[in-house]
Symmetry: C2
Subunit: 775 residues, 2 copies
């Protein structure tokens, strides 16, 4: 099997698999998954295999299966699977002989293509081509086209295809059975409803048949099984003839519009009747056009590299950033696996704000606004959580789902290898930095976009209310005469129940100070907003607390060696030889030797912790401290989290260690695109994919918002001849074009000048003419 | 593929499949399923295939998935499946080369064996043997033994095996997730709880490894996934060595004993620790001993035939009768598919009382009593149903499940081919004869066994209360001045909403008259029981209704040709050429040409309707009427129900049409044992299997209870040299040995004489000496 491994990448628009491996389907299903932010479909094949994971997710349709479980994104009825029987044998690549197999995801058009020649056990030979897309133009539409050519014999063909509502999330059924109907002898419809959240889902599908380009209607028998409706079609094909089957399907849900199930059924059926005569090819080309305008022309990135793989990587990232993000609805945000797998149950983590959001902030500010609006719409849940835990203000859930779901982190995880008991997952209780991360993201969004209306409506309220949480969270210590934050998990999840985690304390302090600054400003500049918020949040009292407590917050400082202690005890923990785990084949190998409580007592980190602090609050730490921390922590970091490598790459680029930065960028890309067939089975790594964009634009491109100013300091790895990308700063789109010789900034479709900094010098870019700076 | 087809049957204890067909797994999974009445496990293979249906059912653990659905028997966590990786390749018979494949169910011992040689794609060769049983001795126990011999190379082996709670009923998950634990580094435990009925299920499993008979402990990593706990074992094998894996698993549920989940977990784990050192072979031999005493020695049947297939058929029937029947618990009865498939959701129909029960009445009266006690325990539900429908007394549900579930017939079925809408299933509303069938079965049980205590405790009450229902169900018609029963479905389900169905009217009339007779008798002989029942059932009033209404019940009479009209309009319905459907390959083919409402207007029957009436109430109809009805109805009967052929076979034997009876017996046997690979996918046909026993003992053996007397009139088909079987009459076990020359009746282990009739002559069998009668 090959996944465009570095040396074999031929086309930087195509993800290609050339050998079919029926025992490792998960990775290709996920990394080649299709979608449009409204829905995501794993690229399981039309024919069934025992180890497949066949998933269709629609963003925001969370359901809770049972009272003691958490909500998750349910696996909706499948329309992709078909049973194809030629000459009495069911198509199955485990049997017979396969020639010329390839499966290709075209990132530009969003079309998946699979072609091969199959000889069945009776020596009958067929050429198969499977085409598929999820429309970027019509968010409800799934198009399929299958071409079967009989190569050496006349053939009876049976195609069983329809809508299958027997799908589950690893055995969990989230839907109650609903109506099944056949309309006009050809339109199949299946209805399902989530058991607890009562979201209605209506799926419609229709088949069209052509033989050598002439439409015909084969014998068809409609079969209604349990949660299933399908047609069994029978037809014949002469030697040399090609059969074409087009299947068009639509998914609509009651999350889309607030309407009765009858209206929903009618509307979706009418929708199918409109698109049916248009046909696959035209619908695909509309979708490809939407890909162009929404993604490839909106935020083009060109990497001229000796290796076209580098260009492929950033396109792969942009492709997935587009399909994972429910840009159409601000009641939703991006899940940790996007819509490409059951992993993390479709839940939303800090991954969105810290790793994914920067892409949208700099290229699609309207989408960034939508994602942050989601956090505003979940504010009441965050307030409830704070109250429940005995705090004030807004305490965001570690894992978030539907607006009023509140905290959805599961409580129990994998087995403890020593005791045999499941391990308690503490994140939902004590991984609290998420509440600062959300405010940080808003601050970044505001400074990059200048979206004052967002701040007035949502932004200030979130920031002030999270600051209120942090103020109530602080713990006074008589001995030190300071405020501490004890018993937390920082970003490094290999350290549970630590006190004074550097990242957490600094981010909490930062949030409170930001709140103080904004409050001061609001009082003067927007007194009516101040008054509204004061009424809601009791700012008069809280403000006093902020200014009283803030100077007394304990902030872990660099020690004599310039190393910021990750937490109160990290630096005094046991040191072990980490070499075996640093060179591990699979992440998490340390748990084969140690259980979590043992790992807790070792100087080992899962991921960037102090490092991400140095990245997010980069102004506050000297280069010496950054270097010293890198030297100390990187060798102790296993990068067992997919959130780790991209941060390290950006920091390495900052430190001008470009070979290292490039190597880390490559390693980050291989979290999903590498040869490990097991790495992405549960879904792509959304944060890592956001991180890839950060490596390119924030790292090598050197783009940063510092204290509200745009900084551009490109530093390309020597493998790259040129890097060209666009960003939007304060509503103005600019193109940055960098090479080893220097870089150029030009306005795109704008006459509004913009100002940026480069190595502490201020520059102004005006008009459409571009300015070149020598590095 | 061969299933001991008639011509190839070599051993009448073995069901053998000699060619593996991965696309038609359902049949072998069902007909070779293992069980013990407590649980049933389909014989899916250890390795996974896409089209498998892997089921483990425990009797009585019904659950309702969602408010608008009916309860069903849930698919419990699986212990059978294992992933076996040899030399880096996963065992999968679709890949590589398979030699010498056979899968054999040994009916005598209840052991399933599968052997083959597998050469993987790298030419590494292995001999595999898979052995498995569900214990007839320890109802909770599942034993597995796998032998792998490396034939031509040293081999690294990985075995992933444990407990998988991701199983569903066609996508429906009936369990909430529960605890997973590893104890003592080797005992795996998984807990699950049904979502609505809250039945706790605890499954424990343990593995033992031997290499060339020496125990060893391979490297094992415990993995807890969602609803899953398994061990990944790694080991190696030298060329020629044999690896043996024994896996012992136990299933306990809170239906067993009323105890806390903690007690249940402890008890089941302790149980595993006791059996673990005993090992597969000894546990199997205990189970095989139990098969001998409980089945093969308890009710032996010998058929000396030119074709050993005939002997196999009756053993196959007895095997399944044993494993399908929850003999251990009178809160349960036999499901229409036993415990061998999801079909009919584990529900109980009239199949039990009319088709299956006679076997137990005549051979295991204690089990028959338990099955009838189930109907007593569901009496309150039957009363509720009557009340809900506006009637008095007890109206048994058409489909029955747990004691207080009431009517569980689903309301919607397959698609109407014309309208495209799902068809309404009317059985739950108007297929009412079940209520007479239960009373008929009790009467039969009582007369055959003489179990007066059953009658006193349960029997009278059921019969009187069902008669009370029928009296209230009757509809007075002014024109005819008679009582009718309108708008019903009789046994023939191709006629819905008919009036005066012969079977229903006669059985209702019969029930009321039986109630009158018992009431008269109770008043005199058991006045205290009468008084109790009078209080409960208001007998004084009801009795008056019975004697007033009974003579006025309209009973369809034979017409001039001697034909009893199946219902009011059947004989005037349209006649069509049924030949294409009489010679159909698959049942139900008529629905490819007609929808149900069209079929309703044609003289066509799904199954015996008038014929079963002539069988059950045989005393009341002359031989001429029986023959005339046969001539009329059989050509119009498609035998689309598996309840049809055996009844026809028995009646053909009664009419001395022995070639026909034999042919029908064969056809009945092929409902499950025939070559149609799709016939038993949803589970075996329990009623048909009960019917096979009736063909042999009631048909060819000529055993019948007539008006409380034992009648024995054997008439063997010419292919049979001898038929020997035992039955128990009024507590006395007798052996009947018949040949073409005559037959012999002997007492078995008894000195109590018994009386029987033969061709209207009375005979007495005394002492241990046997008496021979010439026919």
């Amino acid at each position: 099997m090959t996944f465009n491994s570095e040396n074999e990448c031929m086309d930087s628009w195509l993800i290609v698999e050339e050998v079919f491996d029926p025992y490792h389907l998960g990775k290709e299903e996920a990394i080649m998954s299709l979608g449009n932010g409204y829905m995501g479909i794993r690229s399981a094949s039309e024919e069934k295999y025992a180890s497949e994971v066949r998933n269709t997710f629609v963003a925001g349709t969370y359901n809770k299966f049972y009272k003691n479980e958490v909500t998750e994104l349910p696996n909706i009825a499948d329309v992709i699977q078909m049973e194809i029987k030629v000459n009495g044998e069911i198509l199955d690549l485990k049997q017979g002989h396969v020639k010329g197999y390839s499966k290709t995801l075209n990132l530009r058009s969003g079309e998946l293509e699979r072609t091969f020649e199959w000889e069945n056990t009776n020596k009958a030979r067929y050429a198969f081509k499977f085409l598929r897309f999820v429309s970027m133009d019509d968010l409800h539409l799934i198009g399929q086209r299958i071409e079967i050519q009989a190569l050496n014999c006349d053939t009876a063909i049976e195609i069983t295809s329809g809508i299958n509502g027997q799908m589950t999330n690893s055995g969990i059924q989230h839907f109650a059975d609903g109506d099944k109907r056949l309309y006009d002898q050809r339109y199949l419809q299946l209805v399902q409803k989530t058991t607890e959240s009562e979201i209605e889902v209506v799926i419609n599908t229709v088949h069209t048949f052509k033989r050598d380009d002439i439409c015909f209607q084969p014998d068809a028998l409609v079969v209604m099984d349990r949660r299933k409706i399908h047609n069994a079609h029978q037809m014949s094909l002469k030697t040399g003839e090609t059969l074409v089957i087009e299947k068009l399907s639509l998914i609509h849900t009651s999350r889309d519009l607030d309407e009765s199930i009858e209206k929903l059924k009618e509307r979706s059926l009418a929708h199918l009747k409109v698109i049916h005569p248009i046909g696959y090819k035209t619908l695909l080309s509309k979708s490809a056009d939407a890909w162009l305008t929404k993604v490839w022309e909106a935020a083009p990135i060109t990497i001229k590299s000796g290796n076209p793989y580098d260009q492929l990587v950033i396109r792969f990232a942009q492709y997935h950033l587009a399909i994972m993000t429910p840009a159409h609805d601000s009641r939703m945000s991006v899940a940790a696996k996007g819509l490409s797998g059951e992993g993390y149950k479709g839940h939303i983590f800090w991954d969105t704000e810290i790793f994914i959001l920067p892409y949208f902030i700099y290229t699609h500010p309207n989408i960034a606004r939508s994602l942050l609006t989601y956090r505003y719409k979940t504010l009441s849940g965050a307030r409830e959580k704070a109250k429940k835990e005995g705090y004030e203000g807004a305490m965001y859930p570690w894992e978030s789902a539907w607006l009023d779901d509140g905290e959805v982190t599961p409580v129990w995880g994998a087995a403890d290898i020593i005791t045999g008991k499941p391990t308690k997952i503490w994140s939902g209780f004590i991984e609290q930095h998420i509440t600062a991360d959300v405010s940080y993201a808003i601050w970044q969004y505001y400074n990059v976009t200048g979206d004052q209306s967002f701040m007035d409506c949502y932004g200030y309220e979130i920031i002030l209310d999270t600051a209120k949480f942090w103020a109530s969270r602080l713990e006074w210590d008589e001995t030190t005469q300071m405020y501490h934050i004890n018993n937390v998990i920082g970003p490094d999840e290999y350290k549970e129940h630590v006190d004074d985690n550097a990242f957490t304390n600094h981010m909490a302090y930062w949030t409170i100070n930001l709140a103080v600054a904004y409050t001061d400003q609001l009082k003067i500049e927007k007194p009516h907003i101040y008054e509204q918020l004061n009424e809601r949040l009791d700012l008069t009292r809280v403000y006093q607390e902020w200014i009283k407590k803030s100077p007394l917050i304990y902030l872990p400082k660099p020690n004599e060696q310039g190393i910021i202690p990750q937490d109160k005890t990290y630096l005094s923990k046991r040191l072990i030889d980490l070499q075996p785990f640093k060179t591990q084949k699979h992440v998490g190998s340390i748990f084969k030797s140690y259980n979590l409580s043992q790992v807790n007592e070792i100087q080992v980190s899962k991921q960037a912790d102090v490092m991400i602090l140095l990245y997010l609050l980069e102004d506050q730490f000297s280069n010496e401290v950054k270097r010293a921390c890198w030297q100390y922590y990187e060798p102790k970091t296993l990068h067992d989290s997919s959130l780790s490598l991209s941060t390290h790459s950006v920091l390495a680029a900052d430190m001008e260690q470009l070979d290292l930065a490039y190597e880390l960028f490559k390693r980050a890309s291989k979290i999903d695109l590498g040869s490990n067939r097991k790495s992405s089975c549960d879904g792509i790594h959304a944060a890592s994919i956001g991180g890839i964009w950060q490596c390119v634009v924030n790292g090598f491109g050197g783009v940063r918002m510092n204290s509200g100013r745009l900084r551009i300091e490109p530093h390309l790895p020597e493998q790259w001849e040129e890097l060209v990308f666009t960003i939007i700063w304060q509503g103005v789109k600019i193109e940055v074009s960098a090479s080893s010789k220097g870089f150029k900034v030009s306005l795109v479709d704008s006459v509004k000048p913009i100002t940026f900094f480069h190595k502490d010098e201020i520059y102004v870019c005006t008009g459409k003419t571009s300015i070149i700076y020598a590095q």
